[in-house]
Symmetry: C2
């Protein structure tokens, strides 16, 4: 097998972008369909995706199971898997875990920068760990086949989630802190705990997570992957580009403050650079996955390792993660 999977994007979706996915031979993309939306608003976002699936059946379809990645590759399309960056879609109702899984959600972050009902976000001053409801919800996510994603969570909460979860979890989009010390990037102990519990780390191309940000070189990015592989092995590593394409800056504001604040919070940006940063020139969008593949080969990964990093490792994880507990899918 050789699959190309991107385990996080959030674009201003359009036919243009779906065609770029095909140009880049991307078999599957995990797309964010909720940042701060409640359940009903999330369903509205799914309805919007249903319209796109109807409009562009020759380009995309909804991915539900790992087998859909194969189907996508075999039919020259891209399978779209839904995920949430925040648990807001399940509100305060654990019964919604199964409901959103039935509707196709496959990843859910337990917190997004801030404290949630379940866990602490990476921008909070204090991290008291997984909450009472969080412990219940992790178990229900395990039962349903909804992957715990801790990309925007704080360290203690992340380590506890790894411990509590009976199935491997994911950090779909972040880089190692040793390479770029951003609050969103992950310390060595978190990466070690994650991968030694069979969890996956997806490397991010979002400039705030990159060394030298928009000026980061492909070589530096690939060296960082090689260093991480030296630390924890290559088989639990993949790509989660965090590609945020074609959005107006108002969208990064929605991502950052939702409805939780009346004041602007710049997150990883600043007052002088409040919007989306420019992508590095070697990764503008879905068409450029080939550049990463070349970069990984150049840095010395062998073919099997490159295939693993470009998608096969995620494929393996999808196979074990999306079905109800005790099954593969």
């Amino acid at each position: 097998m050789t699959y190309r999977i991107d385990c996080l994007q959030y674009a201003n979706w359009s036919e243009k972008i779906f065609r770029q996915m095909r140009e880049g031979n991307v078999d599957a993309v995990h797309v964010t369909i909720a940042y701060h939306e409640n359940f009903r608003e999330t369903v509205l976002n799914i309805e919007r995706w249903n319209r796109w699936f109807e409009q562009f059946p020759e380009l995309i379809f909804q991915g539900r199971w790992a087998s859909d990645v194969k189907l996508a590759r075999d039919t020259g399309r891209t399978a779209i898997f839904f995920g949430f960056q925040n648990p807001s879609p399940i509100e305060d109702d654990i019964g919604l875990v199964r409901i959103v899984h039935t509707l196709g959600a496959r990843f859910m972050q337990l917190s997004y920068n801030n404290q949630s009902l379940l866990a602490t976000g990476c921008y909070e001053a204090e991290d008291p760990g997984i909450t009472r409801m969080g412990k219940q919800v992790i178990r229900e996510m395990n039962r349903a086949g909804l992957v715990v994603d801790m990309s925007h969570s704080a360290d203690r909460s992340t380590l506890e989630a790894i411990e509590i979860s009976e199935r491997p979890i994911a950090i779909t989009h972040a880089n190692p802190y040793f390479w770029q010390p951003a609050l969103r990037n992950k310390k060595d102990d978190v990466i070690r705990a994650l991968t030694s519990a069979d969890g996956m780390l997806g490397f991010s191309l979002y400039p705030h997570h990159l060394k030298d940000k928009s000026n980061c070189t492909l070589q530096s990015f690939c060296e960082m992957i090689a260093q991480t592989a030296d630390m924890v092995g290559v088989e639990h590593l993949g790509i989660g580009s965090d590609l945020c394409q074609d959005h107006p800056d108002s969208v990064v504001e929605w991502m950052r403050v939702g409805r939780w604040s009346k004041e602007i919070d710049y997150g990883e940006g600043s007052a002088s650079a409040p919007g989306f940063p420019d992508m590095p020139d070697w990764f503008r969008d879905n068409r450029d996955f080939g550049n990463i593949e070349v970069g990984l080969k150049t840095i010395g990964f062998n073919d099997a390792e490159v295939s693993g990093l470009m998608g096969d490792n995620w494929m393996q994880f999808f196979e074990n993660s999306f079905g109800p507990a005790g099954t593969s899918a």
Copy 2:
């Protein structure tokens, strides 16, 4: 094949009732999960069913496709198919048709006694037919595999729905008006139009739909079925018992007035008999389907006809109705 299918029940569900389904060898039941509920409330009702599916996996499971009826029979369980008696769960949002289908809804009435956004109910004085939104929603239901059910709709709306729908529709629970002239029962022209378009009629055991109500005899019920079969053939006829078991009378009030009136409306009842009527003694609950089978044989139906009436006709209809347009399921 020989299946036993009841195409409508609305009980105060409990382990006792699920065990009675097994005692009665009922392979599949279409259960009502919404009368007046909006989308979010309907999802709460699905969550409640998910808890029952978890609690009683040896008795029941969620039915999604016709093949689940076979699975139920092969594993000695009952497949539970969801339906709505009113289009309130889709609110004013056509995108919710696919969402509720994904969540397992397989039947939706276009109206319940009153005018809805889609069609007219059987208690309204005027019936202007299928509305603008109704025409759009019927087509979307056809595409998704959500069956149009006109059990509580008025005649003109029903005839128009049969005409507009590109797939066969159903009247899941009603009897012929010629036998018992209740507002809820169906005139000959409606039954003829329904069945000649391959639609199904499910005979009801709800006493207000029966000749002599609670005192109706099994023989009279079976004679009525025989007369209907003489009129339109046997292959589009089945059972939709409308069994409303173990409910307090407050529930029939909810069914009748929901939130649309502050005054009591007695529906098919009256001020002197406001509650649920007693069931006939030969059909108390799920354990008594065998009595109907015996009655049908006694009245002169042959074995194949009896099997058809007891479930095989519904099975055939399920096979053609629940998948997306152009597929079987």
